[in-house]
């Protein structure tokens, strides 16, 4: 177990380093220039040039990456956070500290001032969605998988396939049209702001519904497949032919084994939800991490993209780690 954690920890670190470099390199395709972005369209070329030099934007990719990494690790002060530059960039945490993600050119704020509240908002959204997805998909999947080929199975399977066939944005606009425009029972946007006339809770309903519907279908199919597979295993026959009642066989023998694969899948949904919120948050103007990432990407805000990517990857890899640990706990064979 300790070995597993150590190995996974090392893999996590490697993944973060490689992925952050990958993203760094990718963003270089974009012709957008940090100095131009900072100053806006009508700034003169001379002004852009001055800022570019201040920011050392002419340095080679690797040099800039290493500098970025050094700032992140607190080995170097953020070059932007220099009062002499007159950029008014000031991080209340100081210029040099571990976890300094730098400065967002899109928001003109230290990344750490922006990203965490967004992440918290998204965590709330994804958390609620997750809390809906898990029981819903388990219920659908188990019911369908218990008697494959039955009418109930057919209905539930078609339902879940249809659910997974509806992209979030299509679902989003359709639900918004129905509930916000026609029925007027829910707010059409979810800015999480008070004083909009809608209780905070009501602002979660549509985004959660969009995330949960699409994803539940997928997970339900996984659960169903796993259930069917497990019910076909010889040890289920063993249990039945021991004379155990079917209900007991399903509860004691089938469920635990049938949950091993979906458990991994379900945890990986957290990773999926991070992506899914990009669309959902855009549709509902939800002030979350996904929309921020989209804006940052469109703007070419490297510091923010990097930070967001690292955070997303960290969540993803930790989730994987959790799923490994869970697998380890669920499956005695993995424990050796």
């Amino acid at each position: 177990m300790v070995g597993l954690l150590l190995r996974r920890g090392a893999a996590l670190l490697l993944t973060l380093v490689a992925a952050s470099f990958l993203v760094f390199a990718l963003t270089q395709f974009s012709p957008a220039n940090v100095a131009r972005e900072t100053l806006g369209a009508y700034a003169l070329p001379e002004q852009v040039h001055i800022l570019s030099e201040k920011l050392h934007l002419q340095d080679p990719l690797v040099v800039r990456y290493v500098r970025w990494a050094e700032v992140l690790l607190g080995l170097r002060a953020d070059p932007l956070d220099d009062p002499a530059l007159g950029l008014h960039i000031h991080d209340p945490r100081g210029a040099r500290y571990f976890g300094n993600f730098g400065y967002s050119t899109l928001f003109h704020e230290p990344v750490n001032d922006i990203i965490w509240s967004r992440l918290a908002n998204t965590a709330v959204l994804a958390g609620i969605a997750f809390a809906v997805i898990v029981p819903l998909s388990m219920l659908l999947g188990i019911l369908a998988g218990m008697r494959p080929g039955s009418r109930l199975d057919r209905v539930l399977s078609i339902l879940s396939i249809t659910m997974t066939s509806m992209p979030e944005y299509a679902l989003g606009v359709i639900l918004a049209a129905i509930f916000a425009v026609w029925l007027k029972v829910l707010p059409g946007t979810s800015p999480l702001a008070k004083g909009t006339g809608w209780p905070l809770a009501s602002q979660f309903l549509l985004p959660v519904a969009v995330l949960a519907l699409y994803d539940s279908g997928y997970v339900a199919r996984m659960v169903r497949a796993s259930m069917i597979e497990v019910l076909g295993k010889p040890y289920i026959r063993t249990a039945l032919l021991k004379g155990l009642p079917r209900r007991r066989v399903i509860l004691r023998h089938a469920l635990r084994n049938a949950m091993i694969t979906p458990f991994t899948v379900i945890l990986l949904q957290i990773n999926w939800l991070i992506g899914g919120v990009v669309v959902t948050e855009t549709v509902f103007a939800y002030p979350g991490f996904g929309r921020m990432l989209l804006q940052a990407s469109l703007f070419g805000d490297i510091a923010l993209i990097e930070a967001a990517t690292l955070v997303a990857l960290f969540v993803a890899v930790v989730t994987q780690l959790l799923s490994d640990v869970g697998y380890w706990l669920l499956d005695p064979e993995a424990r050796g």
Binding site: T15, A19, I174, A177
Partner: protein, 302 residues
């Protein structure tokens, strides 16, 4: 060449039986595709897909206006009319024509990108599974890193950086799908590499390339068919999502996701404008997913 068995008429009382039971070789059991009609789900999916394929193929001969021609007189009443069966979009372009021509795009870009992703993914998976050792380690680590990205995030960062175009979408699909495909292929390859027919190929001194492409790859087909269909559906969704986020096929090309996005401001007044392309997309994805489900079911009956 003389038969290896000496004639043993005396001993061989079973001669008659040998004649009657002469080597019977089974008729070929029908392949997965041949058995497709027995799955109603798969057939429903196939029909949906074929419908769109047919629509896409017939687009040039259907009596439709150009998908980019603008009829600004119709913009005031963009709902279905005699002139525009499914109405017009925000720029007065015929929605039906755009859906029909949009089918051509999605049915070209999605399969091309998935096939390209398969080419890369299969190559990676075969190499990793066949070579093992540090090659496997390298490829698998690389795949892990890319797979750790939430897919949408990867797409958004990539497309936002390199710009939106059909080619870049293909690149993005390759980048995000190839590692997943590689993982599947690697798993299958690891199973097949231990098979005796691969050892037999080694005993003929076949090249590694021959073994990977001729001996191993064709046997990955079965498990990959389902994944291929699912991935087609998923890629279709992805292309639509990119269009919706403004990162899709550039206008004025009729991109279904883009059509939904363009029509969303009109949702309150002219909901059909967004609904039609959304339904088109949903039905095509549903087709791919149903087919995948049916195929999967058939494969499991084997």
């Amino acid at each position: 060449m003389k038969p290896p068995f000496p004639a043993r008429s005396a001993a061989d009382a079973a001669a008659g039986a040998v004649a009657r039971a002469a080597e019977q070789i089974d008729r070929p059991s029908p392949s997965l595709l041949a058995r497709l009609p027995s799955s109603r789900i798969a057939m429903a999916g196939l029909c949906l897909i074929l419908f769109w394929v047919l629509v896409a193929l017939l687009a040039p001969v259907l009596p439709l206006p150009s998908p980019t021609a603008q009829d600004y007189l119709a913009m005031g009443h963009p709902g279905p009319s005699a002139a525009h069966l499914l109405g017009v979009d925000t720029l007065g372009r015929d929605t039906l024509a755009r859906i029909v021509w949009g089918a051509r795009i999605v049915l070209l870009v999605a399969p091309v990108s998935v096939v390209a992703a398969y080419a890369v993914g299969c190559a990676m998976g075969l190499l990793a599974g066949y070579c093992g050792g540090w090659v496997d380690l390298l490829i698998s680590r690389l795949a892990d890193i890319i797979l750790a990205f939430p897919v949408v995030v990867l797409y958004v960062i990539l497309i936002a950086s390199v710009g939106a175009s059909a080619l870049n979408i293909v690149v993005a699909v390759i980048l995000s799908s190839a590692p997943a495909i590689s993982r599947i292929v690697r798993g299958i390859t690891l199973g097949i590499v231990r098979k005796d027919f691969v050892a037999a190929a080694h005993l003929r001194r076949e090249s590694a390339l021959h073994i990977m492409l001729i001996e191993i790859l064709p046997n990955c087909r079965g498990p990959l068919i389902t994944d291929f269909c699912l991935r087609l559906g998923y890629t279709t969704i992805m292309i639509g999502t990119l269009g919706f986020l403004g990162l899709g096929i550039p206008p004025p090309a009729p991109d279904w996701g883009g059509m939904v996005q363009e029509a969303t401001p009109m949702l309150i007044v002219f909901p059909l404008m967004a609904l039609f392309p959304a339904l088109a997309l949903i039905s095509l994805v549903l087709g791919f997913n149903l087919l995948a489900d049916g195929l999967n079911e058939l494969a499991q009956k084997d």
